[in-house]
């Protein structure tokens, strides 16, 4: 699971009331996989990050990164940084190449734990946690 995905997920149970974000990461295994695909160019990466910037929850990202052992992200995102190419490139690396392979995601509201195995988070609820309401 990439940090970008972590930045969008929340606890889907009813008790969390949609507030189950961001998950606290307890990392057991973190891997940096950096194999650029054929179409990868610096320009594309930077465009990608620029597109993501308005969507990102920055504070959540900073915390998640530090939980995965990356403490280099600044606490606030300034206009200068959002324009700086080396910064955007580094940010791309953090968002896309850092994978949480094994670990636990803990909901900040209910404390429900969602395991991550083999790089895939299991966000499904047990049957006794679901309510019989169609969204």
């Amino acid at each position: 699971m990439r940090l970008l995905t972590h930045n969008t997920m929340r606890n889907n149970s009813k008790e969390a009331k949609g507030m189950g974000f961001p998950f606290k990461i307890t990392a057991a295994e973190v891997k940096v996989i950096d194999n650029p695909d054929a179409g990868a160019t610096e320009e594309r990466d930077i465009d990608f990050v620029k597109r993501m910037l308005p969507i990102l929850e920055w504070t959540a990202l900073v915390r998640a990164a530090s939980e995965c052992g990356i403490s280099s992200l600044p606490h606030t995102l300034t206009t200068d940084l959002a324009e700086s190419r080396p910064f955007l490139q580094a940010l791309y690396h953090i968002l896309m190449n850092v994978h949480l392979i094994k670990g636990m995601l803990t909901c900040p509201v209910t404390g429900r734990e969602f395991p991550v195995t083999n790089g895939v988070p299991n966000m499904m609820l047990e049957e006794d946690e679901c309510e019989r309401v169609r969204l």
Binding site: T8, R10, N12, G18, F21, D37, A38, D128, L135
Partner: protein, 626 residues
């Protein structure tokens, strides 16, 4: 892209003067003879993805247009033609050329006509005209170097006259006799004489000139033969003598035809099994994706070569068609809510997109059979891993937060400020460029959603919670589709595309039964028949307006026009297919035969097992005695 395999480019010789003045180039696209229904839709999407506008107005200076194909004089309307002639302004042809480079298609330039002589004359004219232009260019201001450069960028326009070349004839799978081929070549003598380079068959720099003889095809892409009635009398006598001559014809019909034609050697036309309806001549401009050799041919991506497969893995070719319809490029973010073995995302990743997939199936976590997981395929092709989450598409909006931060103050750069100020609370955020998927319809894989089938599920014991697999319950097709369309409408960017597959049983009506959404517009719906009763459609939709969260219930209610009735038509297909099979005459007998065969197979396996066991025992006995 898989379907375009060849192109011709030539300036318009016999078309309107208005077009002639502007430099326009004709491209002949020959599609492969599979999925003929999909071809035009895919071509449109590909052109659009590269920013080429496809219009129909003749004489306009920009945009690409489709010209009518040559029609034989008999005035019959001919269907199932696998060719399209596109006319480009020179600037767009350049872009198109870039596109073909990335997708490895075969291009040609040349000209087209119903008459072979005509065709030859046109290409001769074009070639001479072109060489004249070249002379003017080089003599006017010693720009030979610049014209060479342009050759590199734009291989359609001018070429090195010294380049080696070869001449090929393509007859759409039918046979043409050697002497007839010679005649066809001779017709192009003038054109070929103007080429100064040597003839080389397998040099990498060789430019290939291709003559295509188009014939009439039936719906399945095989040749429509001339009515055999007139020649039937001669067939029986000569059949044996013709065997040595016609070795690899596909159907008996053709062998019969050719044997009869042996008798009419005087009549040159009779050497063909079929009547030509058009000739195209031109220069091949690129490779083809479908070729068997080459690391990037379609075979390279065939399902057979993948380490991880499931029963519903999508065919490689169709996955590529779907990515084209979804306009997937290197900048795209693609989401597949029913990822399964990741076969669709694999095609997207090959196009360089960032892929996100989710599935409710536990196998996305565990894989099947030991080490086989979804990552295997991506690693196999050395593609970046997609993002996989086990989640429930029915609860999409509960799994993912709205893709817009609650605190918008943390960033104030000029580019992003405009987007944040433009947001109102009612408009849902958007993230994806395309959502491409093959939803489960219960033919081979049924849809599931979170929850238990019991009203009061038994609580999961605390000590089991760690290893417990949550129960799921069936997820009706109408809900699958309405959730899919709703997720697409709310998460796609405006202009983004939703591409999905829907099965169509015989009573399925495209106009009434396809699900619809106020935010999504139907672009294309391509039908692929499987049998008389069953087929499937690839449906492409485009998001046209922003999603209004307050209208959500309204949206959901209007998804099926006929309500549950429409949804019912694509649900429970397995039962319907079985039922349809039962209705056919002779089903009982066939079923009985199959039953006997199955039994015999089982019995044989049992015997084999017994025998092997006995042998083992014997060998052990022998060992023990030794």
């Amino acid at each position: 892209m898989t379907v375009i395999s060849m192109e011709h480019i030539v300036p318009v010789v016999n078309k309107t003067a208005a077009i002639q003045q502007q430099q326009r180039y004709l491209v002949l696209v020959e599609f492969v003879y599979r999925h003929l229904n999909f071809q035009l839709a895919e071509l449109k999407s590909i052109l659009e993805a590269h920013g080429i506008h496809l219009g129909s107005s003749s004489g306009s200076s920009s945009g690409c247009e489709i010209l009518p194909l040559p029609v034989p004089p008999t005035n019959r309307s001919i269907s199932n033609r696998a060719f399209v002639i596109l006319s480009f302004p020179i600037e767009e042809a350049k872009r198109w050329s870039g596109l073909t480079q990335t997708h490895e298609e075969q291009q040609l330039w040349g000209c087209s006509s119903t008459n072979l002589k005509d065709c030859a004359n046109q290409s001769f004219q074009w070639l001479n005209r072109k060489t004249n232009n070249n002379e003017v260019e080089s003599s006017s201001s010693s720009q030979s170097s610049s014209s060479f450069q342009r050759d590199c960028i734009l291989p359609l326009v001018c070429d090195d006259p010294e380049r080696p070349w070869k001449f090929t004839i393509h007859t759409l799978g039918t046979k043409v006799r050697r002497d007839e081929q010679d005649l066809m070549r001779k017709t192009f003598q003038d054109t070929l004489d103007s080429l100064k380079g040597p003839v080389k068959l397998d040099d990498p720099t060789t430019q290939e000139f291709l003559l295509i003889r188009e014939i009439e095809l039936d719906g399945k892409g095989s040749a429509l033969l001339r009515t055999a009635a007139t020649n039937n009398n001669n067939n029986n006598n000569n059949k044996t003598s013709s065997d040595d001559n016609d070795d690899d014809n596909n159907s008996n019909n053709i062998t019969e035809m050719t044997s009869s034609q042996k008798n009419n050697k005087n009549n040159k036309d009779a050497y063909y099994n079929t009547d030509a309806i058009a000739y195209y001549f031109g220069r091949v401009l690129g490779g083809r994706i479908r070729s068997n050799e080459g690391s990037r041919g379609l075979d390279h991506y065939s399902l057979k070569s993948r380490p991880y497969l499931g029963p519903t893995s999508m065919d490689a070719e169709l996955s590529f068609v779907m990515t084209s319809l979804g306009k997937v490029t290197t900048e795209s973010i693609v989401y597949d809510p029913f990822v399964g073995t990741g076969s669709i995302l694999l095609a997207c990743a090959m196009r360089g997109a960032y892929c996100i997939g989710s599935d409710i199936d536990i196998r996305v976590l565990r894989g099947r059979g030991g080490n086989q997981t979804i990552w295997k395929n991506f690693d196999h092709y050395k593609l970046p891993r997609p993002e996989i989450v086990r989640s429930d598409n029915a609860l999409y909006h509960r799994h993912y937060r709205h893709h817009r931060p609650t605190t918008t103050t943390h960033i104030s750069s000029s580019t992003t400020a405009t987007t944040t100020t433009a947001t109102t609370t009612n408009i849902a955020p958007h993230l994806y460029d395309a959502i491409i998927c093959d939803p489960p319809y219960g033919i081979r894989a049924g849809a599931r959603q979170t929850g238990s089938k019991l009203d009061n599920p038994r609580p999961v014991l605390e000590e089991n919670r760690h290893n417990h697999i949550a129960q799921t319950k069936t997820y009706s097709v109408s809900d699958v589709m309405s959730d899919l369309l709703d997720v697409a409408a709310s998460t796609l960017k405006v202009g983004g595309r939703l591409v999905y597959i829907i099965p169509s049983f015989r009573d399925f009506e495209e106009d009434r039964d396809l699900p619809r959404h106020d935010c999504l517009e139907l672009i294309d719906s391509c039908f692929q028949p499987f049998s008389n009763d069953l087929g499937r459609r690839i449906v492409a939709m485009k998001k046209i307006i922003d999603y209004d969260v307050s209208k959500r219930t309204e949206y959901l209610q209007s998804i099926w026009i006929d309500g549950a009735e429409s949804a019912e038509k694509c649900a429970n297909l397995r039962d319907k297919i079985m039922e349809a099979a039962r209705e056919k005459p002779g089903y009982e007998e066939k079923a009985a035969i199959r039953k006997v065969k199955r039994k015999a197979n089982k019995e044989a396996k049992k015997q084999e097992k017994k025998r092997s066991k006995q042998e083992e025992n014997q060998s052990q006995q022998i060992k023990s005695t030794i």
